[in-house]
Amino acid sequence: MNIPTELGTEKVGVLLRRYAVPAIIAMTASSLYNIVDSIFIGQGVGALAISALAVCFPFQNLAAAFGSMVGVGASTLISVKLGQKDYKTAQMVLGNVVLLNVLIGLIFTFLSLAFLEPILFVFGASEQTIGYASQYMGIILCGNIVTHLYLGLNSVLRSAGHPRKSMYTTILTVVLNSILDPLFIFGFGWGIQGAAWATVLAQIVSLLWQIKLFSDKKELLHFQKGIFTLKKRIVSAALAIGLSPFLMNVASCFIVILINNSLKKHGGDLAIGAYGIVNRIMFMFVMFVMGINQGMQPIAGYNYGARQISRLLEVLKKACFYATLVTTSGFLLAELAPGLVARIFTHDEELIELAKYGLRISFLAFPIVGYQMVISNFFQSIGLAKSAIFLSLTRQVLFLIPFLIIFPNLFGITGVWASMPSADIIAAITSAIMIMRQIKKWKKAGIMSETLTAA
């Protein structure tokens, strides 16, 4: 047993800080990648390039979703096998990850390069943006295998007992990208292609580092002869595990496509660019909350397992408080200084106006998003996966889709922006009801008695 006992004894606030801070750093670093890319493209290439980038988003995400499907499944398998000291099978999983990623990456690249422009039009491109979009995406797709391997090996690295190295790899990629972006865009004048090359090159360097790590024969898991043959059981198990997160990613791609097309119809290309800006700012705050959630996980899990319900509820309350603090700051920033935010990305006045409007409306319900996300993750950490999946789907898929279909037809572009806070509100109410029912259940089962005396 190596569950640290501090989880059951140390002050909850101290624990939350100890576990959440590294997670927040990792999360924020990866959100920076997307912001930096966007800023350089917006400032260095132009407003339409931001729109093109926003059109490429769901495409890029879809490509990454295929890569991480293999990675997530394989890393779960590996941690199970390592837990059983079954090193031989764990090695085989590593070999299979590499093969599968290359295979899926190749197929995806060929298919999507063959139909690049039609796909981009479906995703929301127009005659004005298709040039930028296909230049950018063409390069990203050529580097697709690298992306897949990089994501897959990073998952494996983490489950093979190197969560830190896996985090450093992510940060290395972000930092490299932030250095290469201005060099390629401003220094070499490569335009939007420069941003794509920076992304691919940063991933290549990270991948090389990963390969070096996995070539070390002293490592528990390393590349060796004989592991590179596909095993039916490993492949099917890895894909089965990776399937549900994959489907979630596909669903979120679909939502972005829906939003992009709706914005294009009611507001034109620049409206899509405005969403690109709104989405990135929102994402930064969401990632912060994700970091808090990550810190909450082991604390909530341990105390739930040990039936220390008062500590369990304390960590929930504290996490909700910090998360609300974060999302409320986001809300204030978007409502009070939307122009300041938009100007970081572009100097095009029309795009700035569109982004300001979008920021103001879509952040309206943001203060309550914080606790909604915490509760969804809370269910996950106490092993109620189904409730957790349901709740994380409500805000971004289930409740959002009907609004996205109805609102824009009634209110035009305002309707697209308003769909987001509307879905947020219903999702927040749903999660409040679900957590209250859960607490009632505990009270009924009598495991709350300890809380009652403590309170």
Partner: protein, 205 residues
């Protein structure tokens, strides 16, 4: 000597295991394992019961719908309560108990968990479907044939998924075990006698 018994629901595998353990004077572990694992880890027993012989819920983190590329799979911490973590704790319990001497384990992939040991006898017990349904209906009231068949099929699927996922072998297939036997052939007591003879021969060497 460690005897690991895999079994179909309603095949009488548990009864056979219990009787065999009593005859040989071995310790016997079935659901008791969960209580022991819970006690050793300090995790509530209900959680083990919920995850018991179930590989479902392999849910690798609430990291969804981010709408943004290259951020998947950043999950530095786990809650330690997922089925895989509980399986790991249970595996430690099984290994510790096996260290303490002769015993019979029923289910829970014990044959795989103890695969490094040389003193294991791995058995799979099946039975004719009619017999299994009859047994199920004896155990539980208000069960008709259709319902019993349904339960039987569901349980077979669930146990196969669990076993295949963790062990990487095939549940109920001859090459996964030393001995596979249909309990309808000799009946419960007949099967126990047969197994006792085999264990006796093995122990003598």
């Amino acid at each position: 000597m460690i005897i690991n018994i895999g079994r179909q629901l309603g095949s009488g595998g548990r009864e056979i295991g219990e009787k065999l353990a009593a005859e040989l004077n071995y310790a016997y572990y079935d659901k008791e394992l969960l209580q022991i694992a819970a006690k050793e880890s300090g995790i509530a027993p209900e959680l083990f019961t919920k995850a018991d012989e179930n590989s479902q819920g392999k849910f690798p983190g609430a990291y969804w719908g981010m709408h943004i590329p290259y951020t998947n799979g950043l999950m530095p911490f786990s809650s330690g309560l997922d089925n895989d973590s509980l399986f790991r704790i249970q595996s430690d319990t099984i290994r510790n108990l096996a260290e303490q001497g002769n015993c019979v384990f029923v289910g829970r992939c014990a044959d795989y968990i103890l695969r490094e040991r040389t003193d294991c006898l791995n058995i799979f017990i099946s039975a004719d479907p009619n017999m299994r349904i009859k047994r199920l209906m004896e155990y539980e009231e208000n069960l008709n044939v259709r319902k019993a068949t349904e339960i039987m099929e569901d349980k077979d699927k669930e146990r196969a998924e669990y076993y295949n996922f963790y062990s990487g072998k095939n549940w109920g297939r001859a090459d996964s075990y030393h001995l596979c036997i249909n309990s309808s052939l000799l009946g419960i007591d007949g099967t126990v006698r047969l197994l006792k003879t085999i264990v006796g021969k093995l122990v003598e060497g």
